[in-house]
């Protein structure tokens, strides 16, 4: 039985694959942090903040797309209603996720596909690796997919002797550059043309068709080099791996949105297609897509309509000689912390996310810190609330992510499914600072506060006690006023973080409270 707790069907047995129930089942709590060695956000961000080229690149890219998005959204008179509808559809689906997933499984199976259930990254990787090995092929082409990055599928495939080729241009740049993605939609947003040329010239030949001699850094030249390099992969590939933006429960239809057409090549040319999709991507009916077909492209690329929207349902009705498309379709439904997140009343709204990346593009913190600082394939505001929920708050990076925001609310304002990211951030801060109940692998547990919050907790309590006694507060203010001449330029301890780049406010000779007592006291 899978480790999820929604009554999910167990995984059907696969040739060469152990069933989950065959594994020694010993879930350790708390879950092992995904990135035990990754530095906390403030430290990771420091580097990006100090890199003027990176900051300029990020600023230009995010400001361009955010302005275009605002114009594209303003074109629709009913945006607010579309946003509310998207939120309602997602909330409804999440509430009845068990039902819709079973319906989806039935529909996909009826259409000739095979459905697999993966409780975590390891299980999903084992399933996909097993499926690929069973085909006898050792190469796969990949459609850009967040879910496969989340589980580290490429690395798992490589470990099993299978080469995975990313076909999305930006993803290809990241892969060839042995780099990590730094944006949901534009994973290579942090790279400039010259760097891309370098990467292509140095790396393409090691993975297939080399870059043309004397490659320049003109965007068209670079795109042409990628096209030639990838064409060889498309024509040879027998197995493809994708994710999906949506899955329709009533019909079993998979939906992939993309801009370049590379995805469609992967989805139609190979013989075997394996899709790894987070369980939250299901929507009840085909009609529900009408909302997201409008809100997703406008929010993400500021386009009125998505350039390539590919949909497929199992293997289709007939498999005659003229039929295009794969002859085997596998859907791997990925949990990996999602049902645990679903159990959290405040935090579950993060599962509404349709990965449009609008919140990244308006986030002033993302703009300065860059995507790598978030230590996850989900950077920016959504990453700051999604990663600590999917992975738990056990690592330094996951415990610091809820604080990687000023709570300015710009992300909430643009989110097409109205995720109140600031609300979730504050909720997760509470979990980090004070501990509390969480669900891990379907079991309700109480976690302890993250390390390093003891002094802060004491300070908050002391402040509260002082603030709750206006008499003491007034005495404190008087003390402060008396100390106004001793204004150091640099403070010790945590205060140093303020005085490193800012002057301290000048202290007044008297508090407002004292002024009032003197000037208007008779009326109080």
């Amino acid at each position: 039985m899978s480790g999820t707790f929604m009554g999910m069907p167990g995984m059907p047995g696969m040739p060469g694959m152990p069933e989950r129930s065959d594994r020694p089942d010993a879930p350790e709590l708390p879950a092992t942090p995904a990135l035990p060695d990754f530095p906390a956000f403030p430290d990771a961000a420091r580097q990006a903040v100090g890199d003027p080229v990176l900051r300029a690149n990020l600023r230009r890219a995010t400001h361009t797309i955010r302005d275009k998005r605002a114009r594209a959204v303003a074109e629709l008179a009913d945006w607010d209603r579309l946003r509310a509808a998207g939120k309602a559809i997602k909330d409804h689906t999440l509430r009845h996720l068990d039902r819709y997933l079973v319906q989806l499984e039935e529909a996909v199976t009826a259409a000739g596909g095979t459905v697999h259930w993966a409780a975590d990254a390891d299980e999903a990787n084992r399933i996909v690796t097993g499926l690929v090995l069973a085909t006898g092929h050792r190469e796969v082409v990949k459609v850009k997919s967040m879910a496969t990055q989340e589980i580290g599928l490429n690395e798992a495939l490589e470990a099993a002797g299978i080469a995975a080729y990313e076909t999305d241009l930006a993803e290809l740049i990241v892969q060839l550059g042995h780099d990590r993605p730094s944006h949901i939609l534009v994973p290579a947003i942090h790279r400039n043309r010259a760097e891309i040329r370098e990467i292509f010239a140095a790396e393409m030949g090691r993975r297939g068709r080399p870059a043309p001699e004397g490659l320049g850094d003109d965007p068209r030249e670079l795109a042409e080099a990628a096209r030639l390099h990838l064409r060889e992969k498309f024509l040879r590939a027998k197995v493809a791996v994708s994710g999906a933006n949506f899955m329709v429960a009533e019909t079993g239809t998979m939906v992939v949105f993309e801009s370049e057409g590379n995805g469609r090549m992967c989805l139609t040319l190979p013989e075997t297609l394996i899709s790894v999709v987070g369980i939250e991507k299901v929507v009840p009916t085909f009609r529900d897509l009408e909302v997201f077909l409008q809100t997703l492209p406008r929010s993400s690329t500021a386009e009125r309509m998505n350039p390539y929207t590919t949909m497929w349902t199992g293997l289709g009705p007939s498999r005659g000689a003229d039929d295009d498309g794969p002859s085997a379709f596998h859907l791997v439904l990925l949990d990996n912390g999602r049902t645990d997140t679903l159990a959290d009343e405040v935090g579950r709204q993060a599962l509404r996310c349709i990965r449009c990346s609008a919140c990244l593009n308006v986030c002033p913190v993302y703009e300065r810190a860059g995507g790598h600082a978030y230590g996850s394939v989900y950077p920016g505001p959504i990453g700051a609330v999604l990663s600590p929920q999917l992975r738990g708050t056990g690592s330094a990076i996951d415990a610091s992510l809820p604080y990687a925001s000023t709570l300015c609310g710009a992300c909430y304002e643009v989110c097409p499914v109205a995720i109140d990211i600031p609300e979730v951030l504050v909720h997760l801060r509470e979990r980090v600072a004070q501990g509390g109940p969480v669900t891990r692998e379907g079991i309700r547990v109480r976690i302890r506060p993250a390390r390093g919050h003891t002094a802060e907790r004491a300070a908050m309590r002391a402040a509260r006690l002082l603030l709750d006694r206006p008499g003491a507060l007034r005495a404190g203010e008087r003390l402060l006023a008396r100390a106004r001449r001793l204004r150091p330029r640099r403070l010790p301890g945590p205060g140093r973080a303020w005085t490193d780049s800012r002057e301290l406010p000048q202290l007044p000779a008297q508090s407002f409270r004292d002024w009032w007592a003197r000037e208007r006291g008779d009326r109080a």
């Binding site: 002033p364 980090v432 004070q434 002057e503 407002f512 109080a524």
Partner: protein
């Protein structure tokens, strides 16, 4: 008309001039101002840092201190947003968790009576020209909580535009956060300073003599950066500009 001033802890201890300006301004407009001395902090620092339970006694204190006043006016968008957007949530959570009976009702009862200063002036008093005089170039930074939390919209700029002698200049990227964010300024100092430096640079770039805002905590952060960099641009709370008249000009 009677109104209670919710001065907020930051203004009380660090920016008494703002509170004094609000008192002068409201009295000039015919409002009798009270200052309930039992008031304290709204609990925002605790709540936003993940110490929700520590903010509960402050919610109770605030609600009780202002009981019975039809209007509670505060010169801080972020504290007004704390009350309006978060108090009901904190109250409900406390009751759900079996603490603080009546907290939810106290919060709900307080919320509709709390006004940020510009809301009170424009919506309740129905004035945009408050009879102020301030012959300087001013640029306005709308803090996030006022802008997005409360939806203050054009109210502050309409009030400033009606000030005699005042030349209001546009702040590029005005809607972008200044990077203060409460404890964010200390927990993520590098990003915070980078954001503040950009905001300060846009303010300096407008050539305005004064960078005006309606939240002293954001202004403290920006002022700290401007002074560290030796810029001439001063920061001023909106209330001080609105309180300034020809007879009693702000110095």
């Amino acid at each position: 008309m009677r109104a209670a001033l919710f001065v907020t802890c930051v203004n009380d201890a660090l920016y008494p001039r703002t509170g004094i300006a609000v008192v002068r301004l409201l009295e000039r407009l015919g409002v009798a101002v009270d200052f309930p001395a039992a008031q304290s902090c709204c609990g925002q620092p605790q709540y936003n840092s993940g110490y929700r339970r520590e903010s509960e006694p402050l919610l109770r204190r605030t609600a009780e201190a202002f009981a019975g006043y039809p209007y509670v006016v505060t010169p801080s968008g972020s504290c007004a947003a704390m009350v309006r957007c978060h108090y009901p949530r904190i109250g409900r959570a406390a009751e759900r968790e079996g603490r603080g009976p009546g907290l939810s009702a106290l919060a709900e009862e307080l919320v509709p009576r709390v006004y940020e200063l510009t809301e009170f002036l424009v919506d309740v008093l129905g004035v945009t020209d408050v009879g102020a005089y301030f012959p300087h170039t001013v640029t306005y930074h709308p803090s996030c909580h006022g802008l997005r939390g409360l939806g203050l919209g054009e109210r502050p700029r309409r009030l400033l535009s009606a000030v005699r002698g005042l030349d209001l200049v546009e702040l590029p990227g005005a809607q972008e956060c200044c990077g203060f964010g409460g404890t964010f300024a200390v927990k993520n100092p590098d990003v915070s300073a980078a954001m503040g430096t950009d905001k300060a640079a846009s303010a300096v770039g407008t050539g305005a003599e004064v960078l005006c805002g309606a939240d002293n905590s954001c202004l403290a952060h920006l002022d700290g950066i401007l002074r560290r960099r030796g810029a001439d641009t001063r920061t001023l709370h909106l209330a001080e500009i609105l309180a300034s008249t020809e007879e009693e000009p702000l110095t």
